[in-house]
Subunit: 349 residues, 2 copies
Amino acid sequence: MPNPKAIPTLGDVAKMAGVSSATVSRVLNAPDRVVEATRQRVREAIETLGYTPNFAARVMAAKSTMTIGAIIPTMENAIFARGLQAFQEELHRQGYTLLVASSAYRPEIENEQIRALVARGADGLLLIGHDREAEIYDYLARHKVPALAAWSHSEAGQIPSIGFDNAQAMFNLTEEVIKLGHTKIAMISGVTQGNDRARLRLRGCRDAMEAHCLDPATLPVIEAAYEIENGAEAFAKLMAYSPRPSVVMCGNDVLATGALLCAQRLGMAVPRDVSITGFDDIELARVTNPALTTVHVPHREMGGKAARELVDMVKTKSPGVSVRLPTHIKWRQSLGLVGDPGKSAPDPA
Amino acid sequence: MPNPKAIPTLGDVAKMAGVSSATVSRVLNAPDRVVEATRQRVREAIETLGYTPNFAARVMAAKSTMTIGAIIPTMENAIFARGLQAFQEELHRQGYTLLVASSAYRPEIENEQIRALVARGADGLLLIGHDREAEIYDYLARHKVPALAAWSHSEAGQIPSIGFDNAQAMFNLTEEVIKLGHTKIAMISGVTQGNDRARLRLRGCRDAMEAHCLDPATLPVIEAAYEIENGAEAFAKLMAYSPRPSVVMCGNDVLATGALLCAQRLGMAVPRDVSITGFDDIELARVTNPALTTVHVPHREMGGKAARELVDMVKTKSPGVSVRLPTHIKWRQSLGLVGDPGKSAPDPA
DNA sequence: TACATCAATGTAAGCGCTTACATTGGCAAT
DNA sequence: ATTGCCAATGTAAGCGCTTACATTGATGTA
């Protein structure tokens, strides 16, 4: 008699139901391959024993875990939260479990996490952006773990991506800024090292300046890590430049919020004295005062699409296809006409 | 000759290094049990083969995964983010990997996630609060997976907890509110069903009223799910009550932010026309206008302590000990004296 | 020199599952 | 009554690792 306290195994269930272990396995994984009566009996045994399959064993034998991993740069601040939530919901609908790990924006930690998730049997991986060592892509390929990049779109990446065109989006926003009469533009960029999103946003800004006969070399840029306070600091420095910028474009809403806070501390009215723009359209952007004019990113849609695509890659072993989602400018109050006392720009749309 | 494209196994390494598989396993798990020269040879083989251990196999054989799971109610909004980040950092320091899953505040999903994580071999689990079916605690016990509750403190729980006293914290805040002269108090509470934190905060508020000779039965309470917009809606309803509350205490900063936004839309000045308080002291609370007076929770400290405690439980198989962290009121501008035109309360500390 | 000791390594038995293949037996067609 | 077929089930070989136990040979001791 087996120890009743011990965790029951497939074998215990089989014994109790008077069938072979294969049959139990079948009622678990392919119920229609076993006749109703037996199935019933096995189910009862499972119930009374309180049996739960041992995953490690299943993985070893079958190689599939029904789990998808996601490695995001940060859990603090909500950029990835909404998209990830949608990603998870869709996965859940398809029977997959999502496990997420965070890399704290550190490439070596991301590598570790990728390996950890693959080692733990993830069937597929969601990564953010494209910037990482070739070696890790090799690793993924060798282990045949499909991966998908999100929050960025690039046809050139080593893996397909579901995202938006960061450069184009920033280009568009910058054009609007210029149309409002701003020429003294400054930018607080996210850290561009190892972060294609940040780099492309900066590029978009420069390209737009060029396209409108402003010299991109004159664009003051301060890079700041993803923290409100860093945005504030950068803003303070920028305000000391001469000529003083009439608009500070930020690489994301978090930095923009910091900039806004600093403006307030400096006694500057936004957008009367200086305009500020964000990027991402996270919740923060709605609640600051004034609310941020920013680039809206379809987070939920991106998450859902990514889930469907990744599951498809896993199931069909197809290479996957990239999709590019549209973004649009979300007009609120932090961007104004240059020199216009106190009015924020109307939504031209 | 083995297929060079295939993933190398321990056996391949052993063959290449001319040792037994046991020796390879030893250099991986107990390097000092094998002599330097051999160790070197094995390491080289590992290197040239690009070998990575198969986790599932390791788990099956050894039962330890060096991974800790955390199931949080939501990844949207940042309440758990900061604490979790600290949790993860400490785990990483100790050689553990953190995998997180979100339950979307749904008990049945939480159950699923717990099982999923346990099945995937988590050595320990971090859960939020104490409210869940007894059955799931049984399951954890049967599988001998230590679990720790965070964001809540209770000596009575089935598992130890690292957190703070939600009721006491709210009690203290309410006392301050009352001291400022408020008697027409209202509350926007988080959903209390299955959420001890929300329930205890509500209780704390009522207890404080009682302690100060206000009838807690007269406290208007609206429960709202964790979304800014829901806070706004609830606030609007509350403002239609008569007598109109002079202060709206919110179960968390997110709801408070919604309330603030609504007040603004209604053309009410905070705290002149109405005071609003939050709870959690997440970043949001600093950036609203006016900034929120709220209860500060030591998120990072809690995360770090939880990690150390949980790892200890895993390693020593001890039952674990609960710890209660202090909170304090973070005075900002959204709470004012009743009837005082336009002044927010000074920090009495 | 013979023997006990011990560090270094090898042998092989699992861990709990899946699945290719083998077996069984009932039924329709002959 | 045979035969053949097929659905239902059983048998058993792994999956890649860890680890208790066995083996080996060098060293120290009497």
